[in-house]
Amino acid sequence: MAGTTTQRLWCKRAAKADLLIKGARVVDPTTGLDEVKDVLVRRGRIAALGDDLEPPRGATVREADGCLLMPGFVDLHAHFRVPGGEDAEDLASLTAAAAAGGYVAAFGMANTDPVVDNAALLEGLAQRAQAEASVPVGFHAAVTRSLQGEQLTEMVELAAAGAVAFSDDGVPLRDADLLRKALQYASVTGRHIAVHAEDRSLTRKGVMHEGAVSARLGLGGMPSIAESIEVERALEVAAYEDARLHVCHVSTAAALEHLARFKERGVPVTAEVCPHHLTLTDEAVVTLDANVKMNPPLRPEADRAALVAALAEGLIDCVATDHAPHCADDKEVPFEEAPFGVIGLGTAFAVLYGELVSDGAIDLLTLVDRMSSAPARIAGIPQPSIRKGVEAGFCLFDPADTWTVGRHTLHSRSQNSAWLGKELRGRIILTVAAGHVVWDAGA
């Protein structure tokens, strides 16, 4: 029921971290801190934050001059492929990829096989996470059974089992009445509905954004109105019901206009944007590489710039990866035949830091808020923070380290990254999640 707090994240038990990180620039939007500090972790908790801290016996010391120490990231939108798609990703590989990307929590979508539409399945996933996940993970439950858009799921029971929110992501909700009833019913659980806003009647034959590039390549287009029409409709319904709505992977400037209008009216809506939509445009599709095929598709520069500005000002609340693993056999096909989706956990921060922070489009503290504090608030979990006494959940980033995106650096079972083979500057070198060291590039 509304207001009750149930466990929403699960991971394996591991040895609690004991370490001293010296000389890193500590950047924490929850406290506003941006200073060079030493950070001491004892038995998985932050024991001290200060200058020239002495390492206690048994603690590992890490010299981190020039590095950024930040609250760990939270991903509201990943496709775990568990259950049913373990050839593309499993909980061990997923959380390894997340850890290497600086993530301390990730939430899976429900469009698995079978669909996460009943409490027994969700409880089973939570158990698997306790055996396999190094980084805490949680789960969305479906809005409708089998994502068929016909019958609501038992949301009260699913929420009691730990569902973070409800979403039929991957499939748009059939009609406004269904969305309306789902919002009404979900309000009893205190969880939001996350919508994949897409008018399928407009995108049926599409494989990329409809515009100059699709015209040139002769590819079926997915017009931006397919998103903006649905975003507006969802916002109208949420406003009418005064219900908590979350808009997944916003990709168009037109959708942002609607979002701005409804947020101004005080409608309780939040929105996310993906790293690829913030940094790439439909021009990338000229390579006809299946690793730049995703839904929503890459948009023109004007949309990309508007998304960046919206993220900076807070109109878009958070970054979410839409991490969507597909095994090589499925993606190594002609562009038009390839499935939609790219992975993103391993590269999100490095890409956004390199593309947006470096050139001043967004400041570091804001980016960390959008990747850590804001998604944690939306998920209803404690915001990762670098404060004395809290459980350690942070990452260390070396802006000078360069690395090549590939099998050995991604850790995912799938390599369908839009940056596959590219060299990125700046790398997550250490991640501590739930008090455990889950990633150490030097180890």
């Binding site: 029921m1 509304a2 016909e150 609501l152 038992e154 009260v156 009445d177 009404q184 019913y185």
Partner: protein, 311 residues
């Protein structure tokens, strides 16, 4: 009576309601006798016209009329001219040709009884129209409450729980309970709560956490058709029972539970509560008989004389 017809609780004044309830009380001794029949309405004709399924309301009216010695004709939807495409207006005109005193009528459309009243000199008693009104259910509920708690219902708290959206009982009861000065709270899933229902002066809640504060819990039936795929009022009966179903754990000792019937054991009400002595469901059915006798009687004779003398 203030109005010729009983179409909605709005047709009744507080004085009308008190008179009907007093009359119902005066009829109670008749129902205790060996020969449960009085000649009060001898020679009067009461037509019942049910255009929608009904067991308890139609049998209760039928028996009430017979206890008062009225002549009755029953017309049902199946096997009648209605199935042959006759319009409501023509059915009413035809029935009126028998010069009945009262037409008791149920119809799936709101306002059908009001429409019928235009075409007949008989008094029309609404036995349920659409999701709008069911005033005789409300009167029998008030009678049950009065028999249980005494005349002063003022300030009592009643929580109506369930599918408010599709309930004509709720719409009549809200008006009747408020007329008696009761404090009404509506409880149910947001999908089954009419928008802006607060405008009736009721409180709206979406869970049972405050149910213990009510003096009386009034449960409504959850209809299975609401669960049909695509309807999406509820994910399942199971989840309804779990969140909004009333069982022993939700009911204070001594707290009274009412239900207009038919009940779904294990859905809105547990079998244990249905069979509990503090549950008034059978009292309501019993009250239905004397209340409907009083309604028929007062509809015909008005304020003019005393029922007890006639009885």
């Amino acid at each position: 009576m203030t109005k010729r017809d009983l179409l909605s609780m709005d047709d009744l004044t507080r004085t009308d309601v008190d008179l009907i309830l007093d009359t119902a009380e005066s009829f109670l001794p008749i129902l205790q006798r060996d020969i449960k029949k009085v000649p009060t309405l001898r020679g009067r004709t009461i037509v019942s016209y049910f255009h929608e399924a009904s067991t308890r309301t139609s049998s209760s009216f039928d028996l009430a009329a017979k206890r008062l010695s009225a002549d009755t004709i029953a017309l049902k939807k199946s096997g009648s001219a209605i199935e042959k495409g006759e319009s409501l207006k023509d059915t009413i005109l035809t029935l009126s040709a028998y010069s009945p005193d009262i037409i008791v009528m149920r119809h799936p459309s709101a306002g059908a009884c009001r429409l019928a009243a235009r075409y007949t000199p008989a008094s029309v008693i609404n036995a349920g129209d659409g999701k709008y009104q069911h005033p005789t259910q409300c009167l029998l509920d008030l009678f049950t409450l009065r028999q249980t708690f005494g005349r002063a219902l003022d300030g009592m708290k009643i929580s109506i729980v369930g599918d408010i959206l599709h309930s004509r009982v709720a719409r009549s009861d809200i008006a009747g309970f408020q007329m008696m000065g009761m404090d009404v709270t509506l409880v149910g899933p947001p999908t089954m709560m009419p928008r802006a229902i607060e405008s009736l002066g009721v409180r709206v809640e979406h869970d049972l956490s405050n149910l213990h504060t009510a003096d009386v819990i009034y449960l409504l039936r959850i209809q299975r058709e609401r669960m049909q795929a695509g309807a999406n009022f509820l994910p399942s009966l199971r989840e309804y029972a779990r969140v909004w179903g009333v069982d022993r754990s939700r009911v204070r000792p001594g707290q009274k539970v009412m239900h207009p019937g038919p009940i779904n054991r294990g859905v809105e009400i547990s079998g244990e509560i249905a069979d509990d002595p503090d549950t008034l469901i059978l009292e309501q059915v019993e009250a239905g008989l004397s209340t409907r006798m009083a309604i028929l009687y007062r509809t015909i004779v008005g304020y003019s004389d005393s029922a007890s003398e006639e009885a």
